[in-house]
């Protein structure tokens, strides 16, 4: 991000998560080639919001239980690469699952003009946390990048689909001010498929951690920073660092 002569912030050139968006793109292409990728239709009416605690006896099935693979992350990318409103699925949808527990990956990709990367990232996460649907319980462990969901018997009987979840998530993400487009990908097929997304997830996590550290610690000593390797690779992180260091220098001691 840069400042113009009048001191007005210009939008950052996107690219912070370009590598992760590329990786997800390659995953999608691979799944498409395999014939395992489909887009879920958005249903006519919205699934009702609601918060409920589901006990095992009320649960029809679980996604991403701690005993199976689970991944969840959000990144932003070039608008040309984000298919706004699209919800993709690799594997069975809720009604097609033949067991009571499946591995789960949830990937959300948004586009927009993010003038404050730190606040934007936090807002995106809040939007995801605030996506609460009736008959669906989701628990999130940010440090493990995992989610653990339960679908109630009642919701299953009423036809709850991952399309409903994706629609609610993309809608909530688009309510975040700078977001112009949002796309969701879910994987329920296998642990192997979920783990194919692990490099993208861990890459995104390192970038976010580096970003958080820059903003929260305001320590710009690269030689002692554990995220030096990330900043060396991701040009936008380096730019953010330079911008923050410059702002700090201007503000004085």
């Amino acid at each position: 991000m840069e400042r113009s002569g009048e001191g007005v912030r210009k939008p950052v050139i996107m690219g912070l998560f370009d590598e992760q968006v590329e990786e997800v793109g390659r995953f999608l292409a691979c799944m498409r080639d395999r014939g395992d990728l489909r887009e879920l239709e958005a249903r006519g009416e919205r699934w009702p919001s609601g918060s409920s605690l589901l006990l095992a006896e009320d649960t029809a099935m679980e996604l991403g239980n701690p005993s199976v693979a689970s991944l969840s992350f959000v990144v932003w990318g070039d608008p040309a690469r984000v298919r706004d409103g699209v919800v993709s699925l690799v594997g069975p949808d809720i009604a097609e699952v033949r067991s009571d527990s499946v591995p789960f990956a949830q990937v959300l990709i948004v586009s927009g003009e993010f003038t404050d990367e730190y606040e934007s990232y936090r807002d995106l996460r809040e939007a995801i946390y605030d996506t609460l649907l009736d008959g669906f319980t989701v628990r999130t462990m940010p440090s493990r990048q995992s989610v653990w969901c339960r679908v109630s018997r009642e919701a299953m009987d009423k036809g709850f689909s991952l399309g409903d979840l994706g629609a609610a998530m993309t809608r909530n993400l688009k309510a975040v001010e700078p977001v112009s487009g949002a796309e969701a990908l879910f994987v329920t097929s296998s642990t192997v498929d979920v783990e194919k997304l692990a490099p993208a997830a861990s890459g995104a996590r390192r970038i976010v951690e580096a970003l958080m550290k820059m903003y929260e610690e305001e320590n710009f000593d690269c030689e002692t920073c554990e995220y030096k390797d990330v900043c060396d690779e991701v040009m936008d992180l380096k730019k953010i660092r330079e911008k923050l260091a410059d702002e700090k220098a201007r503000a004085g001691p």
Partner: protein
């Protein structure tokens, strides 16, 4: 309704909590959260339930998250919800949470207050929460939740047991909304013992439970209280809890 069962060690708090659990289990439309405040896991043993991890394990993990650099309050809050869910053992309409053994991992007031808020949030999803407190109400206040709706004081017929209950009540007055508390006398051999204690204490005696070999047998054999048949003690416990509107 959040009920804390408190009293001197060995007076029968766990028996009452376990009978409450056995009574709640299977009740249509009712969900119960049972919290075992005994580091030795007495309630878990009485119900043959083993929590996958304890509240102290959760606390340690959250402290680990903070040390690893997790600063966002919302991220910490959602992490606690996740870890608490992982710590629950479920049996039908009941969920079971164990406090576990306390470990000295330093003072993390922020974590403790977040954790209490998370437990309160969790309890909010249940119709009834029963906390089998290790001893006094301080433990509940410090580690489980800031307030409870009712403190069920338990004592045997010994003067010491009743004095401990009175002390707990004094402390409880500062944290129990409405100050609701009542004394249940356990292992009563003769009703005259109850009358004698009524005259000697300022506490409201809300009921009494007779000495019962069936309970003793279940304790000795570590049989799950979910299997407890109708017996004089069980009948008396359920009567006390229902009469006071606790169950």
């Amino acid at each position: 309704m959040i009920l804390a069962v408190c009293g001197k060690g060995g007076v029968g708090k766990t028996t009452i909590s376990a009978v409450a659990a056995a009574t709640l289990r299977g009740r249509d439309g009712v969900r119960g959260l049972m919290v075992d405040g005994d580091p030795a896991g007495g309630l878990g043993m009485a119900l043959s339930l083993e929590a996958p991890k304890s509240l102290n394990d959760v606390r340690k993990e959250v402290i680990g998250e903070v040390k690893a650099g997790e600063r966002s309050e919302r991220d910490l809050a959602v992490s606690m919800d996740y870890l608490l869910a992982e710590a629950l053992a479920e049996n039908g309409n009941l969920a079971f949470l164990s406090i576990g053994r306390p470990e000295d991992v330093g003072c993390y007031c922020r974590v403790n207050s977040f954790l209490k808020a998370a437990i309160e949030g969790l309890a909010g999803g249940f119709d009834m929460t029963v906390i089998d407190a290790e001893a006094g109400i301080e433990q509940v206040n410090r580690k489980v939740m800031a307030t409870v709706d009712y403190v069920l004081l338990v004592s045997d017929t010994s003067a010491k047991g009743v004095r401990v209950a009175e002390t707990i009540k004094q402390v409880a007055d500062t944290m129990v909304e409405g100050g609701d508390a009542g004394l249940v006398l356990n292992r009563v051999r003769d009703e005259s013992e109850v009358e004698s204690i009524r005259r000697s204490t300022s506490l409201e005696v809300i009921g009494w439970i007779p000495e019962d070999d069936t309970i003793r047998g279940f304790d000795e054999n570590e049989t799950s209280f979910f299997e407890l048949p109708e017996c004089p003690a069980r009948v008396a416990i359920v009567e006390v809890l229902e009469d006071t509107g606790l169950l």
